[in-house]
């Protein structure tokens, strides 16, 4: 029976149109709806499914971030994770925190908690890095199964179907391994009210990167965060003939 560590990140809700701060230092996060990174919901769902199939014995949800990150840990607990670990990083230190730091934290926790699998989302929809799972696998020297579309436990390890550019690919990995969830891995469940109530009683440990011996010295400097160029709004055409005429005008036909 395996132990699964699942990483969850609190991000601005996917449906929110973000606004860049006038001083170009970042985007406005105060007073903006946040929720669990959508790919992480899929990662949590997969971990819970493994538990339901009696492949996993325990699911530990981890989030690295400010105090509010505990909300997404509670969400994971309400979905079915057994306990949570909050690694507190806030303020300027969090603004400059990169996947390299998070991967070192997750790798250390994976070893401390004797995890056999680490499941993460393939990317966070705020920084769009798509790095943490690969880097966690590298720190641990474990195999990586990224962009997972399907994961099956076999006697020897895992058989993973991955989403790649030309279609799908199947690989086999040994366990322990690090996985990253793509959108089509599963459909995450909603937490029911009784489960939300129960989740409040589940254990949530709070630690810092320092407790884990992880150095969070910034690796980058933010030069600026700016609005993307705005497209000139175009014109509506009344019918297909007018559309064809416009395409001709533009030299497309």
């Amino acid at each position: 029976m395996a132990r699964v560590l699942v990483g969850v990140k609190r991000v601005i809700d996917y449906a929110v149109k973000v606004r860049v701060k006038p001083d170009k230092t970042g985007v406005v996060t105060e007073g903006v709806k946040h929720s669990m990174n959508p790919f992480d919901e899929i990662a949590v769902e997969e971990a819970i499914k493994l538990k339901e199939k009696k492949i996993a014995a325990e699911v530990i949800a981890v989030s690295v971030g400010p105090t509010q990150s505990q909300e997404v840990i509670r969400t994971a607990l309400a979905m079915g994770a057994d306990r949570g670990v909050h690694v507190e990083v806030s303020g300027k230190e969090y603004d400059l925190l990169q996947p390299i730091h998070v991967s070192k934290i997750l790798a250390k926790l994976a070893l401390d908690e004797k995890a056999d699998l680490v499941i993460l989302g393939k990317q966070a929809i705020d920084d769009d890095s798509n790095q943490t799972a690969q880097m966690t696998a590298a720190v641990l020297d474990w195999p990586q199964g990224t962009f997972c579309n399907k994961v099956e436990k076999t006697d020897a390890g895992l058989t993973i179907t991955r989403e790649i550019d030309g279609g799908l690919e199947t690989i086999k990995t040994k366990i322990p391994a690090v996985l990253s969830a793509d959108l089509r891995l599963n459909t995450p469940r909603y937490a029911t009210l009784p489960n939300i109530m129960k989740s409040k009683k589940k254990p949530l440990k709070k630690i810092t990167p320092k407790d884990l011996g992880v150095d969070t010295t910034p690796r980058i400097e933010i030069v600026s965060v700016e609005e993307p160029p705005v497209r000139q709004s175009g014109a509506l055409v009344p019918d297909v003939d007018a559309l064809v005429a416009k395409l001709k005008e533009g030299g497309h036909i």
Partner: protein, 330 residues
């Protein structure tokens, strides 16, 4: 005392002399993936020597193609059964061996499923913070990339000694495929076979159409198509343009088309000359993948659809009437 200007000049001059970039080529043992050419352009923009690493079970075609690319100084070839399936567990130690021999200042690959899978693993082993999917290069340590699904543009300065970067192909013109004369050498030898993972098989979507990320014209369908069969309307229209066909997440999730056709934040990023969005509302997630297209055409029956806010030409109409009519009139 040197003025700070002079010091900067000396510093940048020294850096210029010392810069050298490794581009990890992407290929399928038969042909070079065109994004490698865009990545070589990015490498040239950084300055310094450009070396390209070709690893695989059969490297002849790709290494030959790469050696002729303008601006490539050297091609490192690693042909070995260990690289079957281009698994990151075996490619990573090879890149590290090349790095330890040649001390590159920059390591680049295209931001494809391959590049995104391998480069962060390499960066971690070098203890540096990788930089994903850059869209521009300001200097040898300052790069531009998008965050929040393309809704903000981040310019960052990397403090790491080695810059490990994936490159968004659509933002860099491809390097000329001829005119170069790179020397071909063997990559550092080593035991690269990994016991950790193993490639089994792949199931590739077969298509005679151009590849999505490099197509000049893309016809893309969304939930409005209502079924996979109805995508035939788009294939017929695409045939008139010699276009590739793409899809929104809604169309993929509904099973109308395979996932590798998905355009958006979590699918492919495209920037064709002409993008025709049919029955696509234009969610933030989708716009992230196509809003750099030169001309955007939207056909949608909902005049309030957000896609019309980015479309150059919009037609409010029932796609089941408008698309066949358009196909016929072209």
């Amino acid at each position: 005392m040197l003025s700070s200007n002079t010091r900067n000049l000396i510093r940048s001059g020294l850096l210029h002399r010392c810069k050298s970039t490794l581009v990890v080529a992407e290929h399928n043992n038969e042909a070079l993936n065109p994004i490698t050419l865009n990545t070589i352009s990015a490498a040239k923009k950084i300055g310094g020597d450009v070396t390209v690493l070709v690893a695989g079970t059969k490297c002849g075609p790709a290494s030959e193609a790469v050696s002729k690319v303008e601006g490539v100084a050297k091609v490192l070839v690693a042909e070995n059964a260990a690289f079957k399936g281009f698994m990151p567990e075996s490619i990573t130690p090879l890149v590290l061996a090349a790095q330890s021999q040649f001390k590159f200042t920059h390591i680049l690959a295209g931001a494809t499923a391959f590049g995104k899978n391998v480069l962060p693993r390499v960066a971690s082993k070098l203890d540096v913070s990788p930089i994903s999917e850059i869209i521009d290069i300001k200097s040898d340590d300052t790069f531009v990339r998008t965050i929040y699904a393309g809704n903000a543009i981040l310019t960052l300065r990397s403090k790491d000694p080695v810059k490990v970067i994936t490159v968004r192909g659509t933002n860099f013109a491809p390097a000329a495929a001829t005119g170069g004369s790179g020397t071909v050498e063997q990559a550092p030898a080593g035991e690269y076979a990994s016991q950790l993972s193993e490639f089994v098989s792949h199931e590739l979507t077969k298509s005679d159409r151009p590849e999505l990320t490099s197509a000049k014209v893309i016809v893309s369908g969304g939930r409005g198509l209502k079924s996979g069969d109805n995508f035939k309307l788009l294939y017929d229209l695409a045939d008139k343009f010699g276009a590739a066909v793409g899809a929104s997440r809604a169309a993929v999730d509904a099973g109308y088309v395979p996932n590798d056709l998905q355009i958006g934040q979590t699918g492919k990023i495209v920037a064709p000359e002409l993008y025709i969005a049919v029955g696509i509302s234009g969610a933030i997630q989708h716009l992230a993948g196509m809003k750099d297209s030169k001309t955007i055409v939207a056909i949608n029956k909902d005049p309030e659809a957000p896609i019309f806010q980015v479309a150059d030409i919009g037609l409010v109409a029932d796609l089941f009437k408008a698309v066949p009519e358009l196909t016929e009139k072209l």
